[in-house]
Symmetry: D2
Subunit: 495 residues, 4 copies
């Protein structure tokens, strides 16, 4: 709809989750629940949204924009059905964006299949090439089309949906939380390493799966049941679900970034409340990098829970010294005049009286390029902060993600170009502390072996062409990464 | 984009051509030519439009609406390329309309394929089922996707585009004029019976194919070369084209409706100018159904050339006694109040002074339901016409078309429910004359064996499941269909 | 709406009527009738549309675009009312277009007033300045706001609507057909010279006024009553109307261009059917400029009735040798590549077989710049026409219109720069004949004194600052304007 | 834009500021600064936005939606100018919304005037009636049109803009912060009681006025100068400004709600930082209503600073126990299924681990209907909170605002129907404390005489028809409003 004619200003300053998924089966129409559920999952993808439902056949609509922009009241009436799935997506720009929106729908000799996918199939190109060599044609560039064709083929060959679901996943390497509709049946699959989240809940006459538990907390009448297990396949029924398991290793590879940044703080992922993990990260940071200071200031919204944890341990008060313009987030239409760093100023402002002459501990979740945090430090100094000590609730990100997060190239990471002291200098912080691996692990309450750390270590839980596969290594190899407060040249005097 | 929120009022009152296609290859950008060419072909489809071009890869855009509504200036800049194809389409309504818009684009191991298709594949479902049983999935309901997958498969299997083009068409039964882009090469194919039109022309540094010759007449710098031959495959080059032929019978099956109604009068189709055919039809009608009268009134726009022919032979003057509201054509948004027949009144009005007390010969191209012509007769009578003699430039339409025209069910045709005298009564005409088959054939200047008459005779030039295949039959079997003027009860007295 | 993102290609090649108006009062909802009535008047203005109705207060909507684009079904439900007025408008481009759309609505101490205006107030600036000097502010640049403020002032001062309607018009100099709603009452006024058309009709429980009688012919259930008289003020009631007269001279000044070009041929304006006038113009042209020729070809649509008249007198057949692309009319988005003259080619095409080797009499209604007719002559010659004799159903247009037509500057008229022979040369016609004044007058069936000829003679029926006022002059002063066929240098040889 | 086809869910649950204004004059184009300035002021109005600039005449655009939705890149190029004003607005729904958008533009004999207005003119109807009786017509229902006509009249009568600005304000009773453009000059006026905020700042070659100081903090290159004084009129120049004063009383009537809720926390209004005021309010609440508790939870975003203050004094930790869905704010399209209270659940969720078994002090800024806070209390209890003590940073709102805030009827306020203990019961809080007047006054750092308390006391600083005018009264008359924790019946047992 040409809603955003300009450039999204912060799109490359933060990692982007690729998707959120949902599915529901009941004995009465579930469209409204899918719609609101998608709105609750909106933080997992803002570029396109889609629904596919079944009532005397499969009906679907996909569109560019936020959920409430894509679906009109009339659409929701048209999309009436007792079972269905939905999807929100962050996707790269280009003329084919709508083609890559989901749910993707396919007609087969067995019936209709709709797919909503969260994750990345690491060997999608390999499978695509193999199928292409057999003469198959693809109408999109998405790995989801690869999945759906593979599945369709398996269903037709086996004539048995459940067997097909088990067998076609043998071919998939990577991260996949899937919501599937095969005719009027709704299935959900979580990959054997459980990389992306997926959980199940129940309503009055219906069962639902969703990317995050917050859906069940906030959608009236629902109750969270549990996470899907690694490699679990469930078929939703109105009054329960059937479950089978794929072969799976004795460890998982949950994406640590869900807890660190992506998921809503009020979601429980694999039995660990995101909020608690973040508070604990903040506490850990306070233990690892104590510093004499006056206040703890979170970067809103991403550093808020961590700041609470840091404050708790350090005994310093949390002060909301940075104010965010809620309306300026989405676009700038004059990028030449308001470049990205200026954008940060339009988006964030410091409260002078709150930070003036204060020694500030500034807490955020992660650093990608370093330009945003640098600007925020500058804003605090301009507002009179005497010292700014930056604490980051994650290790330095240095490697691409091939498993569902949109960070694809090494050169976007400042931590590949600079050492921690150099980064502290670049962002003009008086000190800089990144969370240690030990601290991260302890905060997530999962063993190191059960967490995917690919973007931090460059070693991935599945084979990725051209990348290293993870082996067991002692935690010690990640020495703590911090600058000492004394290491900072007194930049404030020169300004 | 919500352009038409109401119901298209005349959509089912007239047969609809399904599509127009175009393709171009040159040594400099051809996008603008494709765009204007599509606008010139707009009469062949008003529901969706699309372009696919090649420049460092394939780029495409499709959308709902008229050509100038779908493409912005920015789109045309983005779609820069030295080769490309385009499509306009009439398509059925529903949520999946955009999915069925063309050109359809597919990625294969050989490269990218884009397809624009005019016609109908009679055995599409059969092929689709066969491929489905092999485990292939389809993402649309269109026969065009069947074509493109079949072609992709053939290309990959043979590794030879030209051979693949020849061989995959073996599987296709039906009408197909195709514009294809395979990577940066543009191909055109016309089915062995040459059912739908397709011709070739040249510009300064480029070659073009298009559904109708009018494109070459009106697009500056172009020159018409010739029609594609039955079963011809051409590859466009900037300076010429390469041609091969599929096996083909020694007769064709040109759709007679192109001359009777669909094509623009200024197009030459298979060496017969549409305008000339229509004038000749009118002359023929005058020979077959002379009647004492004062004036010849065409139904605008569809009966105009035929009226000229009738006038020429009969010696009566043509009088433009019916005036059309150019702006009211497209939609009514209060169908309950302005039903379809009222719609005709809003669309057409008679000029009282021109028809008052006159004996009118009313000329149109064809009758489907009979409700529109009935209303027009009524409008003329209300305006004071003393007699209204209806002359129709075609035989009674009684059978569905499976080869590219949107008339799919028998029960929409009045000629299946009523005899000609009954139709005359129903439409309240003083007399009614349908063109004879002999007259039609002579007007088209093609032998009866070379024309598809499926919708008139129920016998089709290709095998259609559940329908009869055409055998040679003597022309005589189509006895002339007319009512005598005297046969008409003086309906005017009863009103 | 972003409907037209390009440049309207023919906007300055043809004079534009400024507006169409409608009004209705009944005992049940009239919204649907106003809506369809406006659609029937769409040819009088395509840039904006508006409705104002009364039901427990005044409700209105105006928007840019065609009538069916501006109003959704929901709008028509919201705009329910038993009385109302409507407007379609051609308006100049710019950011304030919507502000100038009508009906214009004003709140006064007497109540609410809505105004729909067709015409131009010649002394609007003078009144505006006078009111401005009294400290009044204006929110638009339109003369309609001047009218509404003047009226509001008069109503409040007199406390008597009918007296106010009579008195405020004393101040107005110019052309004004008005539809007014004052609270729930609907009034119509026609200026004392009856420059713009306005007529009255009746439905079952309602009365309607409209710019053209065609509304009553084609809107089901209506019957035309009569034209409003010069200076007549009517108040519509559900069962009739009250009429009073303004002082008025003993002659009128009907705009001749309504018959020549603007109005629909099936409208009767001031007792003269437009179609008849145009046929008669054609006949007159044949008498004034006979030429040995083979066929008469109209420029579609504007020359069609005239061509019939020419054919009738000359005995030559009318041949529809020019075909118009119905869909290409409205916009070009690449004006640099398809300049206006190319635009003519995309819009019109000649039928070769119809014109080849023929001596063609080409008939159109008028010439403004001369570039369009020049291109059409060229198209005919390219198609093989041996001779092209142009016959124009009007005198040379040389002067601006200040009374309701959008032709404001002298330098747009070729007849101000060239003599008739020079124009013939410029347009490359073998001969050129403009209708004589005597011929025009006789075709319109109104006395010369009752017709406004300002754009032809430069003498206007009302005082216009800087222009001459009309005096009575003998018809003879307009000598016939034509080139002799022999006067044309054989341009074809040079091409 | 039809962006929001549903019902804005929270629109009536919170008071709405009516507008934000901006103005700028420089020696080079200021359009981009106005645009970004408006985006920074977006929190003051989200329904319409507009800009008016001067360059060889006045140019303007207004539209429905957020600033970045109303203006395209092309618009900003078209609106190039060295001086201009802008406006964001919250406005009531209906068909005339666009008409009431601002800046409003008027043409006068002196030139063009554009007006952007924040506030409400209490005697607008009176002036409108008076002018109407003189025969003036109004085209909108807004008091801004009244202002602009009055000003235009005064300018023309006096022939002296500055005198006119001083004199026309004599007629205005109420709240008005105005940005005016009179031809290419930009003026700003603040009413003599300084009810709405307005301040001035400087850029490199330009001066700017804006509703809030945050514009100067976050727009690169600007510096805040000072608030406009009560009754001050300034004319902006590129290098400074000229100032005069209207007669004004020796006290002001700043709207207390700007500090309590409307303004951004990082704005300084009349020398009091909003953030500081809110922190102080929280501290005051802790002094007035201490309670044994475990954590302080803010309602995001509106109670955050107050919670910090409460925490500081009470020694309790702030815990962000409520999480807001950032994307669900704006609309629901199925209001029947997701009524407003359900809407609160979709918008807010509690973090179970943070509040479980905790005694919570819940802090928000104000209560209107009470339904939202009731739901939030319920959400906390569902998440396991043992006690919920509500602390409100303002007195009970009981009276309409006639001076710029959209709360017009008494019956929307729960405090008019229930006593404080009854409200505590209704919202199911264990205790409820509203800030005392003394506490509010001390937090705002302005004397009681200088603050407008109309919505709290029903006594207004200017004469309002049918309402009481403020007299000096002792602070004591506002006895503290609170329930004792013990007063709460143990509602939890009954649930």
């Amino acid at each position: 709809m040409a809603r955003d004619q300009g450039t999204s200003e912060f799109s490359d300053l933060r990692p982007k989750e690729k998707c959120g998924i949902i599915g529901c089966a009941g004995t009465s129409p579930i469209t409204s629940d899918l719609y609101y559920g998608l709105r609750i999952l909106q933080h997992r993808g803002q570029e396109s949204a889609g629904l596919a439902v079944y009532e005397d056949g499969l009906k679907s609509k996909r569109g560019m924009g936020l959920v409430h922009e894509v679906f009109t009241k009339e659409d929701l009436v048209d999309l009436r059905g007792n079972s269905g799935i939905g999807h929100v997506r962050y996707s790269t720009t280009g003329s084919s964006v709508l083609d890559n929106a989901q749910p993707i729908v396919a007609k087969t000799s067995y019936g209709e299949i709709a797919l909503a996918h969260n994750g990345d199939i690491a060997n999608a190109n390999e499978i695509r090439e193999e199928l292409s060599k057999k003469g198959w044609a693809f109408m999109t560039t998405s790995d989801s089309e690869v999945i759906v064709r593979l599945l369709a083929n398996e269903i037709v060959n086996t004539g048995d949906v459940k067997r097909a679901l088990r067998e076609f996943t043998n071919r998939l390497v990577g991260a996949y939380s899937l919501a599937l509709m095969i005719n009027d049946s709704v299935y959900a699959i979580r990959d054997p390493l459980a990389i992306r989240p997926l959980c199940i809940g129940e309503g009055n006459d219906r069962m639902m799966i969703a990317s995050e538990s917050v859906v069940f907390d906030t959608l009236p009448g629902y109750r969270f049941i549990r996470d899907l297990k690694p490699g679990e396949i469930v078929e939703l029924r109105s009054d329960g679900f059937e479950s089978t398991r794929l072969p799976h290793p004795n460890h998982t590879a949950h994406c640590m970034f869900e807890w660190v940044y992506f998921a809503r703080p009020d979601s429980v992922l694999d039995e660990r409340l995101v909020y608690d993990a973040r508070v604990k990260i903040g506490e850990q940071l306070a233990h690892e990098y104590p510093v004499p200071a006056d206040i703890v200031v979170p970067v809103p919204e991403s550093g808020r829970a961590q700041a609470q944890g840091y404050a708790h341990v350090s005994g310093l008060p949390v002060v909301e010294g940075l104010i965010k313009n809620r309306y300026i987030e989405r676009t700038f239409i004059m990028p030449e005049q308001a470049d990205r760093e200026t954008g940060v100023m339009l988006k964030l402002n410091a409260i002078r009286s709150a930070v003036k002459n204060k020694r500030v501990v500034l807490v955020d979740d992660s650093i990608v390029r370093g330009t945003t945090i640098r600007k925020i430090v500058g804003i605090l100094r301009l507002a009179g902060a005497r010292e700014v000590h930056v604490r980051i609730g994650c290790l330095p990100i240095r490697f691409p993600c091939y498993l569902g997060i949109d960070m694809k190239t090494r050169d976007q990471f400042i931590a590949n170009e600079k050492t921690v002291p150099e980064i502290a200098d670049f962002i003009e912080a008086d000190s800089l502390g990144y969370l240690s691996l030990r601290g991260l692990i302890s905060a997530l309450k999962h063993s190191r072996d059960d967490i995917c750390l690919g973007c931090l270590t460059g070693e991935y839980p599945v084979p990725i062409p051209g990348e290293k596969m993870r082996k067991e290594r002692p935690l010690e190899m990640f020495s703590d990464s911090a600058t000492k407060p004394s290491a900072r040249k007194k930049a404030s005097s020169s300004r």
